[in-house]
């Protein structure tokens, strides 16, 4: 067999968290394989065991500083089941939804403006000196300020509903711990028109980029796949609650309106030796063909409609591009993301005018249960939390499938395709070529922090070193 050499992109930058890419090449620089490795683990699923259940929403959100609210909400929904809260009060339900919209808005905006816009606006092969948010601030200060202010708005919504911008405490088992004051409401309402204008502007930017580069977008890291998300009972986009729907590459239903509490019957995760991240797949289709994508692009493919007017209009245009068939282009994630930002702004406006937000009925409880499953649509896709709690209120079991894990196979396919198309056979491999690979990863907005959460999913500790680098212990496979 021919010798292979390996190029590493490390760390993958302008994504959130820690990962690296390795590209295996033969003597003629033909790409043999490209892999995205999740290189770290922190161990949440294991060390949460034994903790009191009411701590869980606060602890697990520290998986991730970009989407803490999603983890807080998924855990709180699971704990609602534990405390027997069958139906939250309208105030609690709406405060949580508001928090979720604030979260998705700020996360999408951060990803688009702070992390990705440099690739789109300056070009994938632009000078790395300016190809970053600081370059945008320098060259396009107006646009940069819009991004900063929209993110700030989302973060302020989170602070008002959750207590802090990052790692707050708002959602608790059975409800929430505060409502929204009239002053807070009014300060948000004052800015909502501005936000809508900017959201429309960002949407136009993402859309025009896609249409102007459509030949490239159709090719770049594009491949067919199944898609999965929550949808509301009537098929509408719902980012907080719903049932599972999966479609295949042609848009045919694989399963629909599945109660997410049964997700264990539908989804499994494959372990591969080269990543701490697992590879989920739809059980009925097997581990080879069962992989799927999640996130904004998938949601635009699975849902029937959006229940806010401007975003629905945008969705129709988006679907027009592929004549109503599923859109499989990795770079179309950006456009889909900006449709969701607009939707969030419209929803925030709708909620702010709802007097339920000032209600004082915050908590419910009922008969204790021993097992709880909570699922939400996080910015990056469907997020599953599953817990068991014993009579002494201690967590005895925890399993999390995070959004970026669901996109693991897709991201690996994306980088492999880009590596083949842009690196294979080239005599000299440049920084710009490697950035193409990263652009493919970034399209998925992977939350590598989330993906590194698992100790429960941790592989064998191969060798253990102390901090001075001396080998403490070596273990082989002992399964």
């Amino acid at each position: 067999m021919a010798k292979t050499k390996v190029i590493e992109i490390e760390p993958v930058s302008r994504v959130e968290g820690h990962g690296k890419v390795s590209i295996h090449l033969d003597d003629h620089n033909n790409v043999q394989e490209a892999r995205l490795h999740i290189v770290e683990f922190r161990g949440f699923e294991r060390f949460i065991i034994g903790r009191p259940f009411w701590e869980v929403p606060v602890i697990v959100q520290r998986l991730c500083g970009i989407c803490p609210v999603s983890h807080q909400l998924a855990a709180a929904k699971a704990m609602d089941v534990i405390v027997g809260a069958k139906k939250l009060t309208p105030t609690a339900d709406k405060i949580r939804r508001l928090m979720n919209y604030g979260q998705i808005m700020q996360s999408h905006v951060l990803h688009f403006f702070h992390l990705c816009s440099p690739d789109l606006l300056f070009g994938f092969d632009a000078d790395p000196e300016i190809r970053n948010v600081f370059g945008i601030i320098k060259k396009m200060p107006d646009l940069a300020v819009q991004g900063i202010m929209m993110r700030k708005y989302g973060q302020e919504i989170i602070r008002a509903t959750s207590g802090k911008k990052i790692h707050g405490t708002g959602s608790v088992p059975g409800g929430v711990n505060k409502n929204l004051s009239v002053q807070e409401r009014d300060s948000f309402l004052k800015e909502i028109d501005q936000m809508k204008k900017w959201a429309l502007g960002a949407l136009a930017l993402a859309k025009n980029y896609t249409l102007e580069h459509i030949d490239m977008v159709r090719e770049f890291a594009a491949f067919n796949s199944s898609h999965l998300s929550l949808v509301r009972e009537d098929g509408a986009l719902d980012l907080y609650h719903g049932n599972l729907r999966a479609i295949d590459a042609g848009g045919n239903i694989i399963f629909d309106q599945v109660d997410y509490k049964k997700f264990n019957d539908y989804i499994m995760e494959e372990v591969r030796s080269w990543s701490y991240n697992k590879f989920p797949f739809i059980k009925s289709r097997g581990h080879i063909d069962g992989w799927y994508r999640v996130g904004p692009l998938s949601r635009m493919n699975t849902i029937g409609f959006i229940d806010t007017p401007e975003a629905q209009k945008a969705l129709e245009e988006f679907k027009g591009l592929t004549k109503g068939k599923p859109n499989h282009m990795s770079l179309a994630y950006h456009w889909a993301r900006m449709i969701e930002v607009l939707h969030c702004v419209e929803k925030i406006e709708e909620l702010l005018t709802d007097p339920d937000l000032q209600g004082n009925d915050l908590l419910v409880k009922g008969d204790r249960a021993e097992e709880g499953i909570g699922v939400v649509e996080a910015p990056r896709g469907t997020l599953f939390h599953h817990y068991r709690v014993n009579k002494d209120d201690q967590v005895t079991y925890c399993n999390l499938i995070v959004s970026s894990t669901s996109n693991n196979e897709a991201m690996n396919r994306a980088i492999t395709k880009v590596a083949h198309d842009h690196i294979s056979g080239k005599p000299k491999i440049t920084e710009a070529m490697l950035n193409h690979v990263e652009v493919a990863v970034r399209a998925y907005d992977p939350c590598l922090s989330c993906a590194t959460h698992a100790l429960g999913q941790m592989p064998l500790i191969i060798e253990m070193y102390d901090v001075n680098g001396s080998l403490l212990e070596r273990k082989g496979k002992c399964l």
């Binding site: 922190r42 600081f134 200060p141 990543s275 922090s449 500790i461 680098g469 273990k475 496979k477």
Partner: protein, 185 residues
């Protein structure tokens, strides 16, 4: 002369970096004062020049974290540990307690490969690729590995805390933070 600033996220959740961005529009002012060197916010994967200030989020859970942290110490005049993870290990340090369990390895394996209903592992192969950095025996705080000059507590420190601390650091003095900005959450 602008000061050079480098930042990195080790075994953290990226929340400290996010909170840094919560200085919002003040980042425009900051950019008049600093030049960013290596940081996950740009594509400089190695140090370009010696830096005045290095901000570290997260402690060390694998050999790569240790290596990166030492690089930062070598290349930065002032090293600042940001947030509970960098200062005290934060939540990831909870795994140190499990390490004292009777057979932690077995336990981890059981949790990972036997007891999780969603796992499919046909070959019973365990992630062991050379591309994966080796895990440390336990999670270390930054100060256990290198000399740390300043610490800014909080999980994460708020945007305001970052802003005020930065203004002090850029002046070259120790930050005198008011009580309300120092949080140990």
């Amino acid at each position: 002369m602008k000061k050079r600033l480098a930042t990195v996220s080790l075994a953290g959740c990226f929340g400290c970096h996010m909170s840094f961005l919560d200085i919002d529009e003040r980042i425009l002012d900051l950019m008049k004062l600093v030049q960013f060197d290596r940081s996950p916010l740009n594509d400089f994967k190695k140090f370009k020049k010696r830096c005045d200030i290095g901000l570290i989020e997260g402690g060390c859970c694998n050999e790569e974290n240790v290596h990166t942290l030492r690089e930062f110490r070598k290349n930065c005049d002032v090293l600042v540990a940001i947030g509970q993870c960098a200062i005290m290990g934060g939540l990831p340090v909870m795994r140190n307690a499990i390490m004292h369990a009777e057979d932690p390895l077995r336990e981890c394996l059981d949790t990972a490969y036997l007891n999780s209903p969603t796992v499919f592992n046909a070959s019973n192969d365990i992630p062991n690729d050379p591309a994966l950095p080796l895990l440390l025996d336990k999670v270390y705080t930054c100060a256990e590995v290198v000399k740390v000059d300043y610490q800014i507590p909080g999980c994460p420190p708020s945007g305001d805390t970052f802003w005020l601390a930065m203004t002090f650091l850029l002046k070259g003095t120790a930050a005198d933070l008011p009580y309300e900005l120092i949080k140990y959450d």
